[in-house]
Every structure is written in C-alpha cells, then in structure tokens.
Symmetry: C2
Subunit: 161 residues, 2 copies
C-alpha cells in the first residue's frame, strides 16, 4: 500500500514529543542520545533559523512518521551535516526514509548546498543505517578508527549534490 507523504519544515511545540516518540521507537539510539535530539527541536523553537538547525517532518495521514535535522557546517561554503534522520517504527520498511533523503537533498540544494555529510558508528547494530546510506548513493569517504571508543570507529559518508 502506498502512502501519501507531505513534508513540512516549521517545527511546532508538538514536535518536541513527535521527535522524542520517533527516536525512542526506533531502538537505534542510546538513552543519552534521545534528549539531544529533543534539545535541537527546543533550540530551533527558541532561536528560529538562527539556531542553525533545519528540520523536515514527513507527515502521513496526519501523523509525523519521520523527520530529519540538518545544518550548515561553520567555516565551510555549502557543506551541510545531516544530524538526525529517523522513521517511526510503525512506518519503517515503506520507503519513507528514502523519500525523506530526497527531500533533504532538494532543500539543501535549494539553499546553495554542495555536499551533505553524514556520520555514523561502525558498530554492528548500525549496519542497517550504513546500508541505508550506501544504497541511497552516499559515499563512505573516511573512517576514523576508534573515534567514538576503542573498537567503535566513525564512518563519514558524503553525498555530493
């Protein structure tokens, strides 16, 4: 069954709970990471675009099914970091992540971006995450050995726009 997805970019206070719900549902993130995801929404609500955080929310049947948060990397011309991308577990396996990535690409291209960087861990539990980026066409540009911890490397993907 195909779902109609619509995208919106203006966070509302309700998105604090939307983001918490999505991130918690995935089981991909550690307990200490969830408040960080929520804080970015709060900072965006408090400071607007001056926060440096851009959001995209994917809506299906009036429910926020997925979201992404990105921002320009300071001291670069047109390089962006994708900080968060997550689909609620109830909506996984339906190609929503891929459509959201396409929307992220379009939006970043629209504000003059050249390239998107995505960082993730080398740990086994993040293999589906890495496969998602690789299948989408992101290039694994660098691996920083033991970056997060001994035995936990940082994988840096890039997507040229």
């Amino acid at each position: 069954m195909s779902h109609h997805i619509s995208f919106r970019t203006d966070p509302t206070p309700k998105d604090i709970e939307n983001v918490r719900g999505i991130v918690e549902s995935t089981s991909f993130f550690q307990d200490h990471e969830i408040p960080i995801a929520v804080e970015l929404v709060e900072e965006r609500l408090a400071k607007g675009l001056g926060s440096g955080y851009h959001f995209i929310f994917a809506e299906i049947e009036w429910r926020t099914a997925a979201y992404a948060c990105y921002g320009e990397i300071p001291c670069t011309k047109g390089s962006y970091d994708l900080y968060w991308i997550a689909t609620h577990k109830d909506y996984q396996g339906k190609g929503i992540g891929k459509k959201l990535m396409k929307e992220i690409e379009n939006q970043i291209k629209g504000i003059g971006g050249r390239v998107i960087y995505i960082e993730t861990s080398s740990k086994v539990q993040y293999e589906p995450t890495r496969k998602f980026y690789e299948n989408y066409g992101c290039e694994l540009e660098a691996i920083l050995k033991d970056f997060y911890d001994t035995g936990d490397d940082k994988c840096i993907y890039s997507l040229v726009l």
Copy 2:
C-alpha cells in the same frame, strides 16, 4: 639561545588580548577566524571548564608566546579535538610549538584521553601547518574532498596517546 618555557592552564581576562595578539601575528588565520579564537577564551572565562574548552599558555620571560585550546569531543570516550594552536611570530622557529604539543599530549593523557584529532585545510598556505603536525608524528587519517569549499579539502590528523 634556549628559552625557559613555563605552562599555565587558567585563562585570565588578559588572555583575551594575548590570544588575539598571537593569532593576528601569525598571518595564518583569516580575518573572520580571529574573533572565533577570542570567543573561546571569553566563553571559558564566563563558564569555566563547563565551557568544554581547555587552554594551555606557554610563557617565556613573562610574555605569552604561544597557546593551545582543546576539548573533549561530545559522544566519544577519550577523543579530543585540538581547536587552536599558535605561536606568536616573535617566538616562531624556536621549537616552542613542539614543546607545547608535548604539553598538550601530557595534559590530555592525564585526563584520560586516548586520541587527539586535528583538522586543517589542504590549501597551499597551510603546508607549514601540515608539515608541523606530520613532523610531530600525527597521522593524516582522512581527507574530506572539497569540505571547506571547492578545491579546499579538510585534512584530519590523529595522534594516538
């Protein structure tokens, strides 16, 4: 002539001008980068170690000849970023940078650090900077092509402690 160097780690308000003077004197940094170096001192003075910024000042004959600023990388265990290291032009070519690097290593080791990361540009003007890190024993672990701008890559060095 050999100089006696002493190190101190507690910034004082006078270090706002010390840091500005050092960074300006080198001609290595762009105009927009100098206020960033100064802001880190101000933030450290305002928030203490809660700022996440650690400083080391190298003193020669009562003058601050060089300094470094580093901090732990969030969401890592024992990975540190060296944000700034600079020697005043009046004191360059005397091996002070190398002694300061050794002191940075010792201090980061002392607080449980495993590895130090240093990022710099691939541009020709930063060749002396890159040579300094390479001669010291840092490993060029990754290059992110066109990271800063088209034709301006990010070089990521690491120094395992």
